[in-house]
């Protein structure tokens, strides 16, 4: 740091010059004073320039810090946007997947997430009731299955077995409804010929012989190569 003391001392010495006559001559002293003064001025100027430069540097650092902060903010926003886009894309995919699954299974019902293990288990247990001869219980179990798994690929079979169980339980109206559901909704399903035969069985159970014969003819014309058509032919022949 600048210390004014030395040159003030010198100045004092110069001012008290007459008391020390003979130490310097006049011209020499004056030259020395000018030299010191110039040197001093130069040093002060250099110092001021350097501190100004430092201040400018400090200001620049401050401005750059602000700039970096803004960039950081931009990065934070972009990361956030990217996360949101990622999440939205995932949501889109899940939604699309659910819709496709619904289309694939041909179901028109709500696309609830299906647990395949529970689906198979419930179907099997209903079928076992039917095999065990518990027809009324089996019909109820299949109805429950149909309500619970609206998008299930077992649906045509479930309706078929529900119809069969209801027919055995002498609930003819309910049986007809189930068989018709199979025939109307899944006419290309492997169970459709048997379901149509089931409709004929229901008509027979109600004593509607004419309707039964028409239905049996329909089985033969619509599904000529099916096992159901063979038994329809046998029944018409009798």
């Amino acid at each position: 740091m600048m210390r004014p003391a030395p040159w003030i001392a010198l100045l004092a010495a110069v001012l008290t010059w007459p008391a020390h006559a003979g130490l310097f001559d006049d011209a020499e002293a004056r030259k020395e004073i000018i030299r010191i003064r110039d040197e001093h001025t130069a040093r002060i100027e250099a110092l001021e320039a350097s501190s100004r430069a430092s201040l400018q540097l400090a200001n620049q650092i401050e401005a750059m810090k602000a700039e970096v902060a803004k960039l950081r903010g931009d990065v934070e926003l972009m990361m956030h946007d990217m996360e949101s886009v990622k999440k939205r894309q995932q949501d889109f995919y899940v939604d699309l997947d659910a819709r496709l699954r619904k289309l694939e299974t041909g179901g028109a019902g709500p696309s609830a997430q299906i647990d395949p293990a529970a689906e198979s288990r419930d179907y099997e247990s209903a079928l076992n009731l039917l095999k065990g001869g518990k027809y009324a219980e089996a019909a109820t179990a299949f109805d429950a299955f149909i309500a619970a798994y609206a998008g299930s690929s077992f649906l045509p079979s479930a309706h078929f077995w529900a119809g069969s169980a209801a027919l055995q339980a002498k609930d003819i109206a309910r049986a007809t409804q189930h068989f018709n559901t199979v025939v109307n909704q899944w006419p290309q399903d492997a169970r459709a010929p048997d379901a149509l035969l089931g409709v004929a069985n229901c008509q027979r159970a109600m004593g509607e012989r004419r309707l039964e014969q028409n239905t049996l003819k329909a089985v033969i014309s619509q599904y000529p190569d099916s096992a159901a058509a063979k038994s329809a032919k046998q029944r018409l022949g009798n």
């Binding site: 810090k65 602000a66 902060a69 803004k70 960039l71 950081r72 903010g73 931009d74 934070e76 926003l77 956030h80």
Partner: protein, 426 residues
Amino acid sequence: MMKLTDLLRFLLIALLATVALTARAQLSIEITGAGANRFPVAVAVMEGESQLPRSVTEVVRGDLERSGLFSLVEMGPRPMSEAMPPDFAYLRTRGADAIAVGTVVPAQSGKYEVRVRLYDTRQEAQLDALTLTMTPAQYRATGHKIADVIYERITGLKGVFSTQIAYVVKSGGQYKLQIADSDGANPQTALASNEPIISPSWSPDGGRLAYVSFEAKKPVVYVHTLASGLRSVAANFKGSNSAPAWSPDGSRLAVVLTKDGLSQLYTVNPDGSGVTRLATSSSIDTEPAFSHDGQWIYFTSDRGGSPQIYRIATAGGRAERVTFEGSYNVTPRPSPDGQTMTYIARTGNGFQVAIMDVATRQFAVLTDTGRDESPSFAPNSRMILYATEIGGRGVLAAVSSDGRIKQRLSVQAADVREPAWGPLPR
């Protein structure tokens, strides 16, 4: 020279003027918006209440009405006793879904016993019953207690009528840190100073307030024990000391210090010992607030070029940004139930109280005022108390967390700011 009688008259007038001023210095509450579906409840005049100088029933009714959640069914001046079941059929025709009846009887040594029963008029069943012993002067506290029980039985949420609030009143060049009941009654001055006081924060037990006072010509954090009036310095380091926030267990205070440069987050013991740096950034970090479980500290930082809300685990780690919409989101205050966070957002209408769902980060602006500051949750997380400005004057206002119920609390001829809602009484 003034005559003695004149002097006496002058003194009397001066005294009356003081009384009038004190009376007006109390916060008065105005409801500016109410809930859509208000629960119809009847509060009958308590039998024997006329023995008391002040009505407890009126306190109960006032509390329920101001909450914005109830509509009071007019019951007339006829007292109804707690001893007899009310006429439910009649009450149903009056549209009252619940009724409170009570009896006041003298007890020993000048005290009174208040018995209250709350009935559901549709189920014709008693919902609750309580007995309280009070001195006549305790009519307000008794009323608040009864209102708390009715509120809790019917809404399932804790009532907050018995809680207190802290706030700062500025009038002239004077700053007063005041404590009042949540309805604005019984204001008391804990600190009076010629220098600003900001950021009061209640200790979880309600016994102490931490705040920032400028009495030393710089911000210093104090902890003030209300009962004794004893204060101690919690943080007075070189530079500024501010933004105190208690940890949920009351053992630590989060503070903002500038002793190491910029405003940064630290924690200290309430007695000022054990200073620990919480986070390090090259930007402003301020306004810390603990989450209800003490796991997180929410704070305001301008590390991203504009003030936004971040949170950091109390155990340490990376700060996570919480707000992304807008260029000014400050003063985060997590709700006591941990579900939401309230804060101040700068919107097209100015600075407004907003609320964010912590899990989904969905947010909504709750107020229609434009100079909102310092939001503070009620201990039941249902209402948010905040400072705003109406007609160029600082007032306190409250808004429900769904934005439906709005109240205004103001003091005549003074600026009120920096509210903090105290905890449930223990």
